[in-house]
């Protein structure tokens, strides 16, 4: 099997935070969840999966905000650029946002997630597979590990 992770670099607008990581460029995802909309200020996020343990910040560290029991979001405290999402153990589930990469044109999205909250006017890449939150096994598993449903309610 060929290695699906490749080395990339990225960083923020003001260059205070820079990172290196091995990422899977060819299976990126649109996330249409309400939290991603709010925190990105955009209609949806495009996330790129990072190989566990390979994300390294080479200048300053980002500031992290815990946006839910299952993840924290890292941004530059000087310019606000949004960079990453990291699960609590910082190992098995780490994402960098496509726009923070130095070469976002290399990213290939292959699916839409959390489409129940997709904005009606944001018609993008309609041919890709689409998944609702309640059908997203990995997401439900992560929330279940915190004792919650995928809607943040007690199990």
């Amino acid at each position: 099997m060929s290695e699906k992770f490749v080395p990339v670099t990225g960083g923020c607008l003001c260059h205070a935070v820079r990172y290196e990581a091995d990422v899977n460029l060819c299976e990126a995802f649109y996330c249409h969840c309400k939290t991603c909309q709010k925190t990105s200020g955009a209609p949806a996020e495009v996330g790129v999966m990072v190989k566990p343990g390979t994300l390294k910040f080479t200048k300053e560290d980002p500031k992290f905000f815990q946006s839910s029991p299952i993840g924290s979001r890292g941004f530059c405290q000087h310019c606000g650029s949004r960079l990453t999402w990291i699960s609590p153990d910082k190992a098995d589930w780490t994402v960098v946002w496509a726009g923070s990469l130095d070469h976002p044109e290399r990213v290939v999205p292959t699916e839409h997630l959390c489409v129940e909250s997709q904005l009606p006017w944001y018609a993008v890449a309609n041919a890709l597979p689409r998944m609702r939150s309640e059908d997203y096994a990995e997401l439900k598993k992560a929330w279940a590990s915190a004792g919650l449903t995928h809607e943040g309610k007690p199990l």
Binding site: G11, V46, F65, S67, F75, S81, R82, G99, N126
Partner: protein
């Protein structure tokens, strides 16, 4: 009375606008918007006009601002990092995702298409402009030159 509201993810910064937005609701594909939002573009709902100082209010904390160019500052929540606004001498643009009801503001155009990510295919028939052909950018660039000169 018109009342348009939005906030960051953690709720520290809230804004409230008591005037209608401009006709412009624009995707901006410029590289700075991509980097600042960590996304594929900025998408901005703009509020300008002579009364903007009275009609645009932050009702809790103020955002932190980063000046990304001579004429533009970008405001974000210093606690959770949510990008919220851009401001210049004419008023504010708010990030569409920070609005409490983004579904009510369908975009009207694409700008900065010279740096649009090539694989991003948004299925719409909206007008598309490069930055150098954008009337608002031309006006700002001219005003900046005049001030400088």
């Amino acid at each position: 009375m018109v009342k348009i509201t939005g906030s960051c993810l953690c709720g520290a910064v809230h804004y409230e606008v008591s005037q209608r937005p401009d006709d412009y609701v624009g995707y901006c594909h410029c590289r700075m918007c991509q980097k600042a939002l960590g996304g594929l573009f900025g998408c901005w709902v703009s509020f300008t006009g002579p009364n903007i100082a009275d009609t645009f209010k932050f009702t809790r904390e103020e955002p932190k601002y980063y000046r990304s160019s001579e004429w533009l500052e970008r405001g974000f929540c210093p606690e959770c990092g949510t990008p919220l606004v851009v401001r210049d001498s004419t008023g504010f643009g708010v990030t569409i995702g920070s609005l409490d009801h983004p579904e009510d503001f369908p975009p009207t155009c694409h700008c900065g298409i010279e740096s649009q990510v090539p694989w991003l295919k948004i299925d719409d028939d909206l007008p598309r402009r490069a930055t150098e052909d954008d009337p608002s950018f031309i006006a700002i660039a001219k005003a900046t030159d005049d001030d400088a000169g």
